[in-house]
Structure formats: structure tokens, C-alpha cells
Amino acid sequence: MSKAEGRWTVTVAFLLRRLLGVVVTLVLVSVGAVLLIELVPGDPAVVSAGDFATPDSIASARHSLGLDKPLVPRVFSFLGHMLTGNFGVSANLNPGIPVSSVIAEALPVTISLVLVSLLIAIVIAVPVGIAAARRPGSLLDRGLTGLASTFLAIPSFVVGVILIQVLAIQLNWFPALGYVSISEDPVAWLSHITLPSLTLGLVSASELARQVRSAFVETFDQDFVRAAEGAGLRRRTIVLDRALRNSAVPILTVVGFQVARILGGIVIVENIYSMPGLGTLAYNSVLRRDLPVMQGVIVVSALLVVGFNLLVDVLIVLVTPSTRLQHA
């Protein structure tokens, strides 16, 4: 077997193992979604039946939610339907509308928000982390690290409120809320997505910057960097062509964690900015006890997180030498 074939085999095996992990995670999350409903206080059927409910309408709601069946068959039924993307119909947020349609409408908003927030985090964190790592312990390093720690300590909703007050209300540079689809108006989309993405991205950038700094400090201390410097290579070439590749794995790993962090923040941020994404949908479904939508949002959110992390794993494979990959 040639070196290329060997690397290919190792790569495929690595990714298949990760994919199996994704499937197992999703199954566990789905089971958790069904079990979680059992822990919710009160009777979901009573709330789902809405105002002025009668015993008949409550019984009807209980039946359509599947709550009249025992737990174990309900779990298997949910798993089976989930494989076909069938989460049932919305109980009272959008009665009669398939949950998959309701989620499909919200998903582009959240994906936009997550991607732009991540982009902002990376664009800020990488240069800041590298600048801090170039001279560890210097005034610049301490200043940037301190700034990152400060932003890390501030809750995202506080950042959001400040951005709205200053950039939207006082300066009128951006809208205070809402969302416009990129297909409808790309410029309006960018205008509406900027503040919410900054709200989430700045906090993620802080954590990422610290990780970038640590990774580069370690890399800059390596013999090959000193050798490259001694050979007269430019700093920029050393950083971008050599050090970045070696620091990429821990940085990419933290980027994967940031996706989960950003997704965790969307409930508050989407509500502050009145964006009709998954976060608002999650909040409304809990408020209105729309169980099918709650379960659908839980599973889709988990899918987003594991999906992004699988993507990160693919990127890691691309930058990781095959010997390290074999050991992984």
C-alpha cells in the first residue's frame, strides 16, 4: 500500500468512527428529548389544549401528543419518525403545521447568525492571539489577554444591550432588531445580522483568542520555528505557512466548542433582537408548551452541534500528519 493509500485508509477509518459517534449522540439526545418531557412540571396536554379547555379537548390533546402511550413505545416511535425527519405537527404555536416546516423556516436565521458570529470570532481572535503570542509577557500580550478576559466575563446579553443602545439607538447605524433573508436583500441581511453576530462573536472571540495565543506560544517555541528564523524566512511566512499549520488542531477544536457556545447563546440573543430563529422558536415552544416543536428543536440543535464538530474533525484530518491521525 502506498503512502497516499495508507493515509486515505486511516482517514476514512477515523471519519467513520466519528460518524458513528454522531449517530450515537443523536440517538441519545433524542431519547433525552422524550424523557425530558416527563420531567417538565404540569400536564403538557392541559396547556396544549389552550385557554378554556374542556376535559374532551385535553384528552384529545393528550392523544395527539402521544402522551396516552407508555414511555418506552413513545421513545421508539419518536426515534423511528425522526429517521424520516417527521417530528409530528405543532400543537399550539402553529397548530396543524408540520414541525419540520416550522423548524425549516427558523433554521436559515440561526445558521446565518452562527456562521457570521463564528467568522467574527475567528477574524478577531486569530490576529489578536498571534499578536499576543509574538512577545509573551509584553505589555501588548498582557493588554490583549486582559481585554479578552474582560469580554469573557461579560454575559452576551449585556454586550447586546450595549450594542443596541450605542450603535442602533444613539448612532442609528444599525437596526435594533429583526431579520431579512439574504435572498431577499443581501445588504439588509448584513445590516440586520451585524449586531446580533457581534454580540455572540465578541464573547467567543475572547475565548478563542486566548486559545490561539496559547497554541502559538507553544509553537513559536518549537525548534523548527527557530530553524526557519535562522534560515532567514520572513516572520509572516513562518506564522502563516509553518506555525499556523502546527497550531491549527487545538484552535480548530476550540472553534468546534464555540459553535456549541454560540448555539447556547442564541435563545437570549434572538429574543433581544427579535430574530425568528431556532432560539426564539425554542423559547416560544417552552412558553407555550408545544412539545413536538420542543423535541424537534432539541434534536435539530444537537444535529447542528455534532454536524459542525464533524466538519471540524474533517478539517483537522486535512491538517494533521498521518502518523498523528493513526494514533487518534
Binding site: P41, G42, D43, V46, V47, S48, A49, G50, D51, F52, A53, T54, D56, S57, S60, S90, A91, N92, L93, N94, P95, G96, I97, E105, A106, V161, I164, A168, I169, N172, W173, F174, P175, A176, L177, G178, Y179, V187, A188, L190, S191, H192, T194, R236, N271, I272, Y273, S274, M275, P276, T280, L281, Y283, N284, L287, R288, R289
Partner: protein
């Protein structure tokens, strides 16, 4: 070379941000200055669907559905009824039937015309619905077409209040195509209202004026957008940036921020004293709450003025009467009960009650979470220990009506500004799991069939109000305001039907002067 590439990137990034910001400023300026009459309202919830028969939460859907669906009768902003799709109506002397005479010039979005057969089909469909709307016609026995333009409703028991239900949910008329295809109707309305649904996103519904609308006596806004903004602060922010020009305002920080804007001339506030009241519901089946002296003692322990001034921005007028001002049955002489701890303790002693612990359901959202601890402290002063059981807002009433709780702090909302309507809901109806004494039930039964607007009815309802004032079943606290923050350009804020009832208004009469 190195510098120019980095510089290029920075320049491109700066251009993108500037274009985005300018686009935002321009569009906001257009929204507030060049829109020529467009109204943009910030509300709390989004419509769940367009078929009134399938609405699980009709109060939530009403502000949206009301723009595209006319009702048989119009509920005016002062709570009185006026003609709408029914140009006139007659209530039989025994109040056991209602005859509606329909307009002949009404056309629906699908091209079908209003006639008695369509109205009968609509009403029968609502009667058979598996949602709350069926309850609005629970007292209707039969619905028949008298002729092509007249419909008769025969009632099971004399109750002219049915007319009020024909002015909202059960009165909304759907076109023939909508009735034939409920699945399509849930996604796209088929009404005859003053507006037509132009577009809908998960966070806003935009309506445009119906060019062929039958009512030529009023000028309707060319465009009306109702925005879903759950967070009250988001509504105020959106108002300040000009993205909306009218917002519903809640008591608390939201009101304070809105008032600050109004004080500096950045907006105006208009407040309706709605028929809704914050109230402690009591389960009179649960000892010792079955004793009138105990209930009276609890009422005397509540410092309504302090709750209003300290917790509710001074906007929630104290009340001890089931019929606040603006409601049929209102008695001006029935002032809010003054706090009297000594008298309350004496009443408890005479009832033989001491060391009483009361569990009270509390919805887990403001202002209930603010009022509840205050009540806990006030009741504690007379020796009643209160344990607060927080529940989800949506679960509160369903939990309460099961009858296992002793007390509940919540909002007493009536769909009709009428003491009998309140009583049917909270005294003899499902929200009073302990039932009511025979004398109170008799007063309700006596007032119920009397003609709306008659002196007889007003007198009978006042008797009911006085009886429940002197011997309360539940404990009203204060009259909840319905407040709107709006820009100077917006007109019609003082003419919002249903602002008195649900805080879910019909925005059809709002308009906006173009700003030059």
C-alpha cells in the same frame, strides 16, 4: 505589496460595514418619514394560524385575524356594539333568540358574497370546532337562515351576551373557499376585512388596504404591519429606532422607559383602563376559605395603594369591585377597601381561625412575581402564612380549574365589559372551583337575560357587584391598564377596539400621517 494587500482587505471590510449601516439608516428613515401612512405595531405574540376555528389561543391570534376578518358585530373601543357585517340586529323580548340582518355589499377574498347560508355554515362550523371557539357559542341551540340576508340564532337559555361573542372570535366570517379547504385556510386567510394579508414571516405579518372594502366611511392605513416582539425592551428599542411607530407597553421597567421617552417628547403614551384586574382567586371549597369572614379578612389585609405605587408604576388603579370602571355593573361608590390589619385579625378571630397556611399559585412572570411576595408579607401581618407555588403562565388557569389549589394570583380577564360575564367566568364558572353561594348565583341568573344597555340590566348587575363587594369570593387588587407608546404621526390610538378587554387590540382604525 504586503501593505497594499492588508490595506485592501481593511478597505473592503470598511466599505461593507458602511454600506450595511447606511442601508439600515436609509431604510429606517424611509420607515419613519417617507412611508406615507404605514403603521407598524409591536405586539407580544405571533399569529399561530389564520383559521379562527383552529386557533388554540384565540386571544393571541385575534389582533392578526381581526385585520382580515370582519365580524358580524363591531366591538367599539368603549366596549359598546355597533353594526359590521350585520347592519342591524334584534333580540327577542325573552332574550332567547337573536336575528341578524346582513349587509348585501360584502365580498370575500375568494370572490364569494356574504349571505345567510355562508353565515350559518360559519357558525355551525364554530359550534363543532374542537377549540375554545365552540365555547363562545355554547349557549346557541340552532342557527338558521330566515332569508338570504337574515340569520336567526336560537339560544338554550336567555343570554344577550352572546352578541358580544359575535363581535370577536365566533363572529369572524370566512369565505366559502376557506370553509371548503380548512387546511389552506390555516395558512392563508379568506376574509372580507379592511385589510388583506400581503406577506408573512415568522416575526411579522404585513397587511395592505383592501381596495374593494365595503366600508367607505373611514380611511384605512395603506399598510399595516404587526410585529412579534416578545421582549418588551425590544419593542421600546424598535420604537426608538423608528422600526415600529406604535408599541404595546407593559407595567414595570418597560413602562418606565416608555414614560421617559414620552416625557422628553420622543413619543406619546395612551392608556386604556381595561376591564381586566389583578386578583387573588380563592377556592371556597378549601377550609377555612369557605368562611366569608376569612375572605373578608384577607381583603382587608391587602394594601392595594402600596402595590400600585411601589410595584406597578402607579398605573394600576386599586379596586375591590368585580366591575371596574367602564364595566356594566360598575358602582362608583364602591371604593377600594382600605387596609385594616386590626379589623382583619378580629375577623379571623371571630371565625376561629389561627395559624392558617395558604398555598397560592403564582404565574412565573412579572408582575405576578413582584406582587406575590408583597401579598405574602401583607397576609403575614394578619397571621396568615402564604406558601407561593410558582407555575408556568400557561399552566396557571388549567392547574387552578382542577380544584386542588387554595388560591391563585392571576389576571381576571373578561371578554365582555359586563359584571355577569365576569361572574360566569370567575364566580359561577370554571375559574371558581369552590362554586358560589346560592344568593350570588341567583343574582347572576336574574341579571343574565336582561337586555344589554337597559337600566334593568345595569341595576341588576349593580346588585351583584355590591353583594360581591360586601362578601367577596375572590380578591380584586387593581385595574390593569392597557398602554401604548406611539409616535406623533400615528392616529386612532384612542380608538382601539378590545384594548379594554384583552390587551390584544384590533388595530384596524390606526393610521399614520405622512411625515414630510
Amino acid at each position: 505589496m504586503k501593505c497594499s494587500r492588508a490595506t485592501s482587505v481593511l478597505v473592503v471590510a470598511a466599505v461593507i460595514v458602511i454600506v450595511a449601516a447606511c442601508s439600515s439608516s436609509a431604510s429606517q428613515n424611509n420607515r419613519s418619514s417617507g412611508s406615507g401612512g404605514a403603521v407598524s405595531l409591536g405586539e407580544t405574540f405571533m399569529v399561530s394560524q389564520w383559521d379562527p376555528a383552529q386557533s388554540v389561543n384565540p386571544i393571541v391570534d385575534f389582533p392578526y385575524q381581526a385585520q382580515v376578518y370582519d365580524r358580524l358585530l363591531l366591538r367599539q373601543s368603549d366596549g359598546t356594539l355597533a353594526p359590521m357585517l350585520a347592519s342591524k340586529w334584534e333580540v327577542a323580548p325573552d332574550s332567547k333568540s337573536i336575528t341578524l340582518h346582513l349587509r348585501s355589499d360584502v365580498t370575500f377574498a375568494d370572490g364569494s358574497r356574504l349571505n345567510s347560508a355562508l353565515v350559518v355554515a360559519n357558525l355551525k362550523r364554530y359550534q363543532q370546532a374542537k377549540t375554545a371557539i365552540a365555547g363562545q357559542l355554547a349557549n346557541v341551540d340552532t342557527v338558521t337562515a330566515v332569508d338570504d340576508t337574515a340569520v336567526r340564532l336560537t339560544l338554550k337559555a336567555a343570554d344577550p351576551l352572546v352578541l358580544y361573542n359575535l363581535s370577536w372570535g365566533a363572529g369572524m366570517m370566512v369565505g366559502q373557499k376557506g370553509l371548503d379547504d380548512p387546511s389552506a385556510l390555516s395558512k392563508r386567510p379568506d376574509g372580507s376585512g379592511g385589510f388583506v394579508l400581503q406577506s408573512q414571516t415568522p416575526s411579522a405579518a404585513t397587511f395592505v388596504r383592501n381596495a374593494s372594502y365595503w366600508d367607505k366611511t373611514r380611511t384605512y392605513a395603506p399598510k399595516l404591519t404587526i410585529n412579534n416582539m416578545i421582549d418588551p425592551s425590544a419593542r421600546v428599542n424598535a420604537f426608538q429606532t423608528g422600526e415600529i411607530n406604535i408599541a404595546s407597553v407593559k407595567l414595570g421597567d418597560n413602562y418606565t422607559a416608555s414614560k421617559a421617552l414620552a416625557d422628553k417628547g420622543a413619543g406619546k403614551l395612551y392608556t386604556y383602563k381595561s376591564n381586566a384586574q389583578y386578583q387573588v382567586f380563592l377556592n371556597t371549597k378549601s377550609a377555612p376559605l369557605d368562611k366569608p369572614q376569612v375572605r373578608e379578612a384577607l381583603s382587608l389585609a391587602i394594601d392595594r395603594s402600596q402595590i400600585n405605587s411601589a410595584l406597578l408604576n402607579g398605573q394600576c388603579a386599586p379596586s375591590s369591585s368585580i366591575a371596574p370602571s367602564g364595566t356594566v355593573g360598575y358602582v362608583a361608590d364602591l371604593k377600594p377597601v382600605d387596609v385594616d390589619v386590626a379589623q382583619a385579625k378580629s375577623l379571623l378571630q371571630s371565625a376561629g381561625v389561627s395559624n392558617f397556611t395558604m398555598h397560592m399559585l403564582v404565574p412565573s412572570s412579572p408582575p405576578f412575581t413582584l406582587i406575590a411576595p408583597a401579598l405574602q408579607q401583607m397576609f403575614g401581618k394578619i397571621g396568615v402564612k402564604v406558601e407561593l407555588d410558582q407555575v408556568e403562565v400557561q399552566s396557571a388557569f388549567p392547574t387552578w380549574t382542577q380544584g386542588n389549589s387554595q388560591a391563585m394570583l392571576n389576571q381576571a380577564t373578561v371578554s365582555v365589559p359586563d359584571a355577569v360575564a365576569y361572574a360566569e367566568n370567575a364566580v359561577v364558572g370554571p375559574n371558581s372551583p369552590g362554586g358560589s353561594p346560592a344568593d350570588i348565583t341567583a343574582l347572576v341568573d336574574e341579571a343574565r337575560p336582561l337586555p344589554i344597555g337597559s337600566n334593568q340590566r345595569a341595576t341588576a348587575e349593580q346588585a351583584l357587584t355590591k353583594a360581591l363587594y360586601s362578601s367577596p369570593l375572590h380578591l380584586p387588587i387593581c385595574q390593569i391598564p392597557s398602554t401604548y407608546l406611539y409616535s406623533e404621526a400615528v392616529t386612532g390610538v384612542d380608538n382601539l377596539p378590545f384594548a379594554l378587554n384583552f390587551d390584544a387590540p384590533d388595530a384596524r382604525f390606526l393610521n399614520s400621517k405622512p411625515v414630510s
